[in-house]
């Protein structure tokens, strides 16, 4: 068959251990309590091995079914996918640990949470590894459906309407993406990203395909004007689900856009890049202002996701300068930092919601003393969201500022720094509740230590991993996904 670098088995285990877990937990729901930790360990272990292989030996690939690129489907793990898999494994393991506790009482929904969540995890891993645009469409659809089913698991009226709106947006996004795939296939005759990358040349068809795919992916990534569906869905979902959605699912479609932008799209027009940058800047300002206006905690955190997503899109205009490598690695760092910090924030908010019985910010005052660890987690996660040192968020912000200034586009520093200030405003709007006198809480049902320590552990990870930045950059570099020659050192 094809002559490819040695087929690493880990790429397969990474995808199929959660899928096998999903089928198992669906068939024997009562034994899920035993199976889920095993499956989670298996997945995280295989991701760790794969990431170690990518870091040590460079790109890992696997020709599925034994057929080489144009005919068969390829799995391809380079630095970028390794980073995304690492983020998914970290947040996924933490949320799994949290969910075993969160659903202890509600065994009815728990029976269906596990298969759905493990399917979602499979879809994420499959999306990050797949090297074939149609296969990405199927993984994308699997991801969307699993996420929507999880949102609807909450059962409340706004959860269901949020899920419905999310479903309509998700289907529309996938269909436009599919049209893009159709156009690309009929012009270049292959579905493999690598081969497409060499063949694509600017022509009417590839422009239309690029436009369609970008539109579909922007819809799914909830960039500023198309963000209407995200806050109700993320806020109304059960706590572990909102953490997964904000931290991972929204990033998957951005990863797809980034991958296609780097490898496939013919010539990335400066205009489109600047448009995305502008929308990103607007997202930061609009998301933060909306977050400030919210009266409910989980909606505030959801709008903060809309704002933080804006940072990711600032990389597109910045990459049009000679310092493209720094800009891209900055947005990958933002993905890691936002995933960890936002998951911690949502889990902490969930704990506070379950302890206080409501999440109206005005009356959260006296809440803290039953769940002080969750408040600490919220605060520490806030540090990473704002981008204060030594968090990963700071490393990302530093690289992005450097890319802006070294690339000669100094005006992009305004949304970056401004976003930090606005983030401070809405994070401390919540933190000041800890110190305020007023506020009424029922404070009835206790929160198990596991739920609090998961949130705190994630926020500490967001803070501590900042010190591992050089190693992460080295990992990101393997296989030069982002056309990185050398990153970060000043010109």
């Amino acid at each position: 068959m094809g002559t490819l670098s040695p087929d690493s088995p880990w790429t397969i285990w990474v995808i199929f251990s959660p899928l096998a877990g999903a089928v198992f937990t669906f068939l024997w729901p009562r034994r899920a309590r035993l199976a889920v930790p095993l499956v989670a360990l298996g997945t995280v272990g295989s991701v760790a091995c794969l990431v170690w292989q990518v870091a040590e030996l460079g790109v890992q690939s696997h020709a599925l079914g034994g057929w080489a690129a144009p005919l068969g489907i390829n799995l391809y793990a380079d630095g970028l996918s390794a980073m995304m898999l690492l983020t998914t494994a970290l947040v996924g393991a933490a949320v799994t640990f949290y969910a075993t506790e969160y659903f202890r009482r509600a065994s009815e929904t728990a029976r269906y949470f596990w298969p759905l969540w493990l399917c979602l995890w499979t879809a994420l891993n499959a999306l990050f590894l797949s090297w074939d645009i149609f296969n990405l469409y199927v993984a994308f659809e699997l991801l969307g459906l699993a996420a929507i089913a999880l949102v609807a698991l909450a059962g409340s009226a706004d959860a269901l309407t949020g899920a419905m709106r999310y479903l309509l947006v998700s289907l529309l996004g996938s269909l436009t993406y599919l049209l893009g795939v159709a156009l690309f296939y009929s012009t270049y005759g292959t579905l493999d990203i690598g081969l497409l990358g060499d063949l694509t040349a600017p022509s009417a068809a590839s422009w239309a395909a690029t436009g369609l795919m970008v539109a579909g992916l922007l819809l799914k990534t909830a960039l500023f004007p198309l963000h209407f569906w995200l806050p109700p869905a993320h806020a109304a979902a059960p706590t572990p689900v909102s953490a997964i959605l904000s931290a991972l699912v929204v990033k998957a479609s951005f990863y797809l856009l980034l991958r296609l932008w780097l490898e496939v799209f013919p010539v990335t027009a400066a205009g489109l890049g600047h448009l995305l940058g502008l929308l990103g800047a607007l997202a930061i300002v609009w998301g933060s202002l909306q977050a400030l206006r919210q009266t409910r905690l989980k909606l505030l955190v959801a709008y903060s996701t809309v704002a933080q997503l804006g940072y990711l899109f600032l990389a597109f205009p910045l990459a049009l300068s000679p310092v493209a490598a720094t800009a891209w690695s900055a947005s990958v760092f933002f993905i890691l930092s936002h995933a960890l910090a936002k998951a911690a924030m949502f889990l902490a908010a969930g704990n506070i919601l379950r302890f206080a019985g409501h999440d109206r910010i005005a009356e959260l005052g006296r809440a803290p003393y039953g769940v002080s660890l969750s408040w600490a987690a919220f605060g520490v996660a806030g540090i990473s969201i704002i981008g204060l040192p030594p968090s990963v968020g700071f490393a990302a912000k530093w690289l992005q500022l450097e890319a802006a200034l070294a690339g000669g586009q100094w005006w992009w520093t305004l949304p970056i720094v401004g976003g930090g200030l606005l983030a401070t405003a809405y994070v401390f709007k919540i933190i000041s509740c800890v110190f305020s006198q007023n506020g009424r809480t029922s404070g009835t049902n206790g929160i198990s230590w596991r739920m609090e320590w998961t949130a705190f552990g994630l926020s500490l990870a967001a803070l501590g991993i900042g010190f591992a930045a050089p190693q992460l950059l080295a990992l990101l570099n393997s296989g030069t996904p982002l056309a990185l020659h050398e990153v970060g050192s000043a010109p």
Partner: protein, 498 residues
């Protein structure tokens, strides 16, 4: 990690670890919390003095952890950092004892002392920072650690003050970050090196360097309470007394001033700063702040707000000394770091005692307090005389060196500014002293609490007296080898080596 490399980390850990443990302590564990606090502070004091002695012998302490490509997390002990670290360690001991006494039975003490220890860790980190990114790291950590202390009481006013404080300091941090990244893109690594590492860039990036300087000084000016950015300081008076003492005498304000010294001495270097005509406007701004601060202090009736505005003006002496440059003025500026620390902390302790024992907050209510609390008022008088610059108090020496330094550098207007500010100091302190000692006390104090034989609890009185006495001693023993004055001149001489 050799011993020399791990010592700075140990200094930081000596307050970070107890702080984290205190966070988890339940409220009623009073004794363990106090012992942890004291052990932490004493351990830190011992380690810092050991390091001071080590630096004296020429040891080289440096911790280096790679943070970003081309940027490292560096903790280094050099003369200037030891100067500020020693000041912080000593004053922290006094403030901790005072805080334990002051917050006798108030709620949330575990939370308070947890953030209190984080604050000292951040201050020590600022002192020991070896490059700009580490400085920024601890500078922002200081903001985060002090916010909960400012809003500790949880009243509406406290929360508003906290928001104002946050708005100022985080914006300052953002400006500092922008300046640093811009500098990084121009000059690569941002290590502090004696008299600057930007000499090579002056030719083609002059305009950029000036802009960066403005950004850096604006970012630092917020914490150093230079005029346009001082707004948060008076508002933060709503915090409990040990916090105001902490903010004004030791941590936040000094971190800003220390940062300005670092930027001018170890980033730009004196010659480049003068060459780019940066020090002139800074000196002017400092002078303006001195005058403005003193004037505002005159108008305040609330005692702590008056002291706050006096701090605004006093800290700018440091900036003034550095801006005028020249060996003598630099000594004056650097030594004022310590002198102002000692004097201002005494004054705030007295204000705290008055509030705690007699419920006095306004200056007008202080008539005849001298008879009721003689020792506290004696300390207050010493502190006031120091502020005015009466010899042999510490304040006199720093003003003396600043004035003579200004004359050496051909800036006579500096002497004029010093004289005017001294007169203003006298104007807002002397009438208070007169009222305190020579007028008869009112029938009943607003909220009197008796503490048995002594005028107020010993835990409050002892720190006040010790800092007042040390302010006097520093002045009297200025010529002794280990006095802050000699140490400052050593630091200044390192700067002006030919």
């Amino acid at each position: 990690m050799s011993w020399n490399a791990s010592l700075p980390l140990l200094v930081l850990a000596s307050s970070l670890v107890p702080g984290l443990i205190i966070f988890c302590l339940p409220e009623e564990k009073q004794r363990t919390r106090t012992t942890l606090n004291l052990v932490g502070v004493l351990l830190k004091l011992a380690l810092v003095t050991f390091m001071v002695w080590g630096v004296q012998q020429g040891e080289h302490y440096e911790t280096r952890i790679p943070l970003l490509p081309g940027l490292d997390f560096v903790l280094r002990a050099d003369a200037l950092s030891m100067f500020f670290a020693l000041l912080s360690a000593v004053l922290w001991l006094a403030t901790t004892i005072y805080a334990i006494g002051y917050l006798e039975d108030s709620p949330h003490r575990s939370r308070f002392f947890g953030f209190f220890s984080l604050c000292v860790t951040a201050t020590l980190g600022v002192a020991l920072a070896g490059d700009m990114i580490t400085f920024l790291l601890f500078y922002e950590m200081l903001t985060l650690a002090t916010y909960p202390l400012v809003v500790h009481r949880g009243t509406e006013a406290a929360l508003r003050a906290g928001n104002v404080y946050l708005a100022y300091t985080v914006t300052g941090g953002a400006l500092l970050l922008a300046g640093m990244v811009w500098l990084h893109t121009l000059s690569g690594p941002l290590e502090f090196t004696a008299n600057g590492f930007l000499a090579g860039l002056a030719r083609d990036h002059a305009a950029a360097l000036v802009a960066i300087f403005v950004l850096l000084i604006a970012g630092l000016g917020v914490k150093a309470a230079l005029v346009p950015f001082h707004g948060w300081l008076p508002q933060a008076m709503v915090a409990p007394a040990p916090v105001s003492a902490l903010l004004h005498a030791v941590a936040v304000v000094k971190a800003g001033a220390f940062g300005i010294i670092r930027v001018i001495h170890d980033v730009y270097g004196i010659e480049l700063a003068a060459e780019l005509a940066l020090t002139g406007p800074l000196a002017g701004l400092a002078a303006l702040t001195i005058i403005y601060g003193s004037l505002q202090a005159l108008l305040q009736n609330d005692l702590k707000r008056r002291l706050a505005f006096s701090t605004v003006s006093q800290v700018s002496y440091v900036a003034l000394g550095i801006a005028i440059a020249g060996p003598v003025a630099t000594i004056g500026g650097i030594v004022h770091l310590v002198h102002q620390g000692l004097m201002k902390i005494t004054l705030f302790f007295c204000a705290g005692n008055l509030a705690e024992t007699l419920g006095i907050h306004k200056v007008t209510e202080m008539r005849g307090v001298g008879r009721r609390m003689p020792w506290t008022m004696a300390a207050f008088t010493l502190g006031a005389f120091g502020m005015i610059g009466v010899p042999p108090m510490a304040g006199f020496f720093s003003k003396w060196f600043l004035g003579s330094g200004g004359l050496d550098m051909g800036q006579p207007w500096v002497v004029a500014v010093l004289i005017v500010s001294s007169l203003l100091n006298a104007a807002y302190f002397l009438p208070v002293l007169r009222a305190v000692w020579f007028e008869d006390p009112p029938e009943a104090w607003p909220a009197e609490r008796s503490f048995g034989r002594s005028e107020t609890s010993l835990m409050l009185l002892l720190p006040t007296l010790s800092t007042a006495f040390s302010a006097l001693a520093v002045g009297l023993l200025a010529s002794m080898p280990l006095s802050p004055l000699q140490w400052a001149s050593l630091v200044a001489s390192l700067e002006y080596r030919p």
